[in-house]
């Protein structure tokens, strides 16, 4: 119950930001900045960059607050996504502009129709159960990509496998995950 109230409060603060309520922005910052700073710090692994990033993240939150649609997303997930994507953009800007999409597309057909997604995409907590069905090191790689923003190169190094092996692992794992999540 307390959790639901907190969620509703954050949704309310975001919508008040879209009405240019600066006090609401201040309160939103006070309630959520530790979480979002944790996100950018973990992904960027550099305190100075994270301090710059967190400013940009809140500027984006203020500017995009009118795009938040209550009910479609948990409000804190929406904020975390802005922080995470900003940090990933910063990492991506540093990476060489390699192009590997042809490889990315060489995956066999699998999975249900997209129409089935909307009906079954409500229960986000199932991802833990579905990750547990993967081999532990592959589940670990998926988590590393999401939580630490690791690239394929970093994942390959950490798991001591060739780059292409890691790509294949990950893509097959994602297809399995989707099957499990939509089952």
């Amino acid at each position: 119950m307390a959790m639901q109230t907190a969620t509703a409060d954050i949704a309310d603060l975001i919508s008040r930001c879209s009405l240019r309520d600066r006090q609401a922005f201040r309160t939103l910052y006070q309630r959520t900045s530790a979480k979002l700073f944790g996100v950018v710090l973990r992904i960027l692994r550099n305190r100075a960059e994270a301090e710059e990033a967190i400013q940009e993240v809140y500027i984006k939150i203020w500017q995009r607050s009118d795009r938040y649609v209550a009910g479609q997303y948990s409000p804190i997930s929406w904020l975390v996504a802005i922080a995470r994507n900003h940090a990933l953009d910063m990492l991506r800007a540093r990476r060489p502009p390699a192009d590997d999409l042809d490889g990315a597309l060489e995956i066999a057909d699998a999975g249900p129709d997209p129409e089935r997604l909307t009906a079954s995409s409500q229960d986000g907590a199932r991802i833990e159960a579905c990750l547990a069905e993967l081999e532990p090191d592959r589940a670990e790689a998926v988590r590393g990509a999401y939580l630490d923003g690791y690239s394929y190169e970093e994942l390959a190094q950490r798991h001591a496998v060739p780059l292409n092996t890691m790509r294949t692992w990950l893509r097959r794992s994602l297809i399995k995950l989707r099957e499990c999540l939509t089952a």
């Binding site: 400013q55 590997d100 999409l101 060489e106 999401y146 994602l174």
Partner: protein, 234 residues
């Protein structure tokens, strides 16, 4: 590439969208897949599906307090509150005025003069400015024709559909005066208000900021400066 993709089934497309959401794609592929998602509601459903599912892992991000004064710095950047001598006076901003920009401007004016136009004598009151800034591809050319209006020509730059460009006049040490929202990618004419005309002339600065649709709330710039330039007599 897109043909290839169409031949692949949902599993491959879904895994690709999942890689996109995870941030695993190279910069070029990331941008490409992003455009495909924007254009395809089915892919948008995939993106939302994966985003919502992975978001269940968000609880694993530990909370870390932000450094002191971060909020004040953000508010300063957004609202210009607190003492903020840095914004319009900052060096980074003025670095945007480059010699190259003026060369472009003068060349363009030269071109302008070759066409039949206003009486040549009116040139004595003509002013020109090239508006651009480092890190931004928004570039405008401004020409003051001596009759109380600035003619603007967009040279380059695109703006997201939910943003507007707003033009400002900065004269002496005064606060910027809004000259209104200006269209992207086309010519426009902006009349000088009394307030702007009072201090208008060589050395005035025109700046363009990125603002919410409809322009800056409360008449104060909130967004980044995407182009600016000093007005010169020609």
């Amino acid at each position: 590439m897109s043909e290839d993709q169409d031949r692949k089934g949902d599993g491959g497309r879904s895994a690709l969208v999942a890689e996109y959401v995870l941030g695993l794609l190279s910069p070029a592929d990331h941008a490409r897949v992003e455009r495909q998602i924007e254009a395809d509601p089915a892919l948008q459903a995939e993106r939302d599906f994966w985003s919502a599912r992975f978001a269940a892992l968000d609880s694993e991000f530990a909370e870390v307090p932000t450094p002191a004064h971060t909020l004040e710095q953000i508010e300063g950047r957004l609202f210009g509150v607190a003492k903020r001598p840095g914004f319009w006076d900052s060096l980074a901003l003025w670095r945007g005025i480059t010699a190259g920009a003026l060369a472009v401007a003068v060349a363009a004016i030269g071109f302008n003069l070759m066409r039949p136009g206003p009486d040549v004598t009116s040139l004595t009151t003509q002013l020109v400015a090239a508006l651009e800034a480092e890190g931004s591809d928004v570039r405008f050319l401004a020409l003051y024709d001596g009759t109380g209006a600035v003619r603007l020509t967009a040279l380059s730059g695109d703006v997201a559909s939910d943003r507007d460009l707003e033009l400002w006049a900065i004269q002496g040490g005064q606060d910027p005066i809004s000259m209104g929202v200006i269209p992207v990618n086309q010519r426009s004419v902006v009349e000088l208000s009394e307030q702007v005309r009072a201090g208008w002339g060589e050395g005035s600065v025109l700046a363009i900021t990125l603002e919410p649709k409809g322009g800056a709330p409360e008449g104060k710039a909130t967004g980044p400066v995407v182009a600016l330039g000093e007005v010169h007599q020609i």
